[in-house]
């Protein structure tokens, strides 16, 4: 599954994308949070691209900037070849409906005062996609069926559902407009394991059925292994490594990727390793990111040049790695 890219078309491309947030009331003059710093990324039609990294690495910000929920500070965004970076809202509307978002917290992302019908119908009415009331209800029921919520619950409110069911409602809302791209921002991190697997299977089924493209943001590398065709590893606003899931897990080329993979507690006590090398230290501040390679303060292999110069992209087969001294493949 992972190796074959379903189609070759680029759906969304970011070129040198930068997102900075100014810090309010900082005493030391104008400071900014460097959330995303010069990211180049291509998302292919029909694939699942995972964005992984630790908290504060900018993966959620990147996800939102890519679909213009946040305005980019600089850089360009192209959706199917059309430059959407600074497009007027009126013109952009036809693109916006092709890009949807699924949120992490199913408790916070559904309006508690709206029932399921209103929640799922909202995007449909906004874009005038229903002929009349009965048509709207038919469409809502159809969507509920697709995500596995019984149609008789149509008048229920979010608090009457479990976390997993709420996440399904959020998914129904996201697919209502038949989008091309769905940004899934940690869609299963708030769910129990047994529910998590149900939702992941559902996402996969919907992708097969509608040829959806997913940008799957997650910190959970086992979930990513299951769902993603390609993975992009981020550290402090910058890309470390991008490549096909299986080969990236097999032979990580960036030291950070390797540490990340090794740090996961494996559900098999025989794989315990008391001696395994752990990353020391903490994640540096995105307000004052380290010079050169931003990972150098935690990297055990860092040399002089890593402190001085940001590593350029190196192409190793299909893999792209941003490191002065990539690991042996």
């Amino acid at each position: 599954m992972a190796a074959e890219r379903k189609t070759g078309e680029i759906l969304l491309e970011a070129k040198n994308l930068v997102k900075e947030f100014p810090l309010a009331n900082s005493r030391r003059g104008k400071q900014v949070v460097h959330a995303v710093s010069g990211v180049n990324l291509k998302i292919y039609e029909g694939e699942t691209l995972a964005l992984v990294g630790e908290s504060g690495c900018g993966k959620s910000t990147l996800g939102r900037t890519l679909i213009r929920l946040l305005p980019a500070t600089s850089g360009t965004l192209e959706f199917k070849g059309a430059d959407i970076t600074a497009m007027k809202e009126r013109e952009f509307a036809q693109y916006r409906r092709q890009m949807q978002l699924i949120f992490q917290d199913p408790y916070a992302s559904l309006n508690p005062r709206m029932n399921v019908k209103e929640i799922i119908a909202e995007p449909l009415t906004t874009y005038g996609l229903a002929k009349d009331k009965s048509d709207l209800e038919r469409q809502v029921k159809e969507l509920m069926g697709e995500v596995g919520i019984p149609a008789e619950f149509i008048n229920r409110y979010p608090h009457q559902f479990s976390g997993g069911q709420r996440q399904r409602i959020g998914i129904a809302r996201a697919i209502a407009l038949r989008p091309k791209l769905i940004v899934c921002d940690e869609p299963v991190s708030a769910l129990d394991v047994s529910i998590q697997s149900q939702v992941l299977n559902l996402l996969k089924d919907l992708q097969d059925q509608y040829g959806l493209t997913y940008l799957f943001i997650s910190h959970d590398l086992s979930v990513v292994k299951f769902i993603a065709d390609r993975v992009c590893v981020m550290f402090l606003g910058m890309v470390c490594e991008v490549g096909d899931t299986d080969s990236l897990y097999e032979t990580p080329l960036h030291p950070y990727t390797r540490f990340l993979l090794e740090a996961i507690p494996k559900a098999d006590p025989r794989l315990r390793n008391e001696e395994k090398e752990l990353l020391t230290g903490e994640i540096p501040s995105p307000v004052n990111p380290p010079s050169g390679c931003r990972f150098h303060t935690r990297c055990p292999y860092a040399k002089e040049i890593c402190r001085r110069e940001a590593p350029p992209a190196k192409q190793v087969g299909e893999r792209q790695v941003f490191c002065h001294f990539p690991l042996e493949g």
Binding site: S197, P265, L278, I283
Partner: protein
Amino acid sequence: MDMKEEMALQIRDLKSHFFTSKGVVPAVDGVSIDVPPGRIIGLVGESGCGKSMTAMSVMGLLRHPGKIVGGTILLEGRDITHLSKRERSKVRGNEISMIFQEPMTSLNPVYPVGRQVQEAILLHQKVTKEEAKQRVIDIFKEVGIPEPEKRYYSYPHQLSGGLRQRVMIGMAMVCRPKVMIADEPTTALDVTIEAQILRLMKRLRDELGTSIILITHNMGVVAEVCDYVYVMYAGNVMEQAETFELFERTEHPYTQGLLKSIPKLDGKEDRLYTIEGVVPNLLHLPKGCNFCNRCDQTVEKCFVEKPELYETREGHKVRCFRYEGGVKA
């Protein structure tokens, strides 16, 4: 497990129920747990299984409408099930301590962290303020906080999540308790930081002989650090075994399902195994086994009677009729 007098903590047939307006919720319903000295005991299960409520009962932290309605809790043979406020405060934080998932909410934001740890010492031990301060700095060093003298004066918001959890562990360990309960201590942390904290807990077990009850939903964490595991579901222990035994010879259908639902890091699956349905409402538990409505291995008896814990090998017990009499039917 005999030699009962040697257990650091023994929970015998604990029942903690919540008396709500809708009825009695049996959050913990006859749980027995043995904690030998110098061991890490895992309590694992999904949300609502009663793992945290078991811990709160041990700590005497159950709030109205929750109440311990049966069973005993023995700390080194001494009954601590029902203590007066005064007696309780001598035990809590001194002989048994607890750390929580989100260290930010457990620390007071308006006092330096060092002072908060110092307070724990002054409360339980007859030492001068100066001696107590030195002890704080020593324990900070022990739990791996860099620049402990400086960190003594830091406020919680000035520390990262990982450092805050280290402060909490320091506070929990400073009076050298016999038992530390850690409730999802790494769930809010990034994987590289999680690995550091798990290693620290193992070190405390080995060097100080502290017994740790580790509450988690993550089977990876269990496999990585626990010596013995209790799997809980809807207020009951469903399976208990030594960690290697549990993973090698998983017997309960629920434990099997939990392990199968986790996406694997090696190999590629097309679909994930799912446990159908949702956790039952504790107000309306099934008549038979609590897991019968989600189980894929039921026999007729499962729907009419509640199974007991059957011992299948030494130290391995399963609450499932298929193992009645100790052998698989």
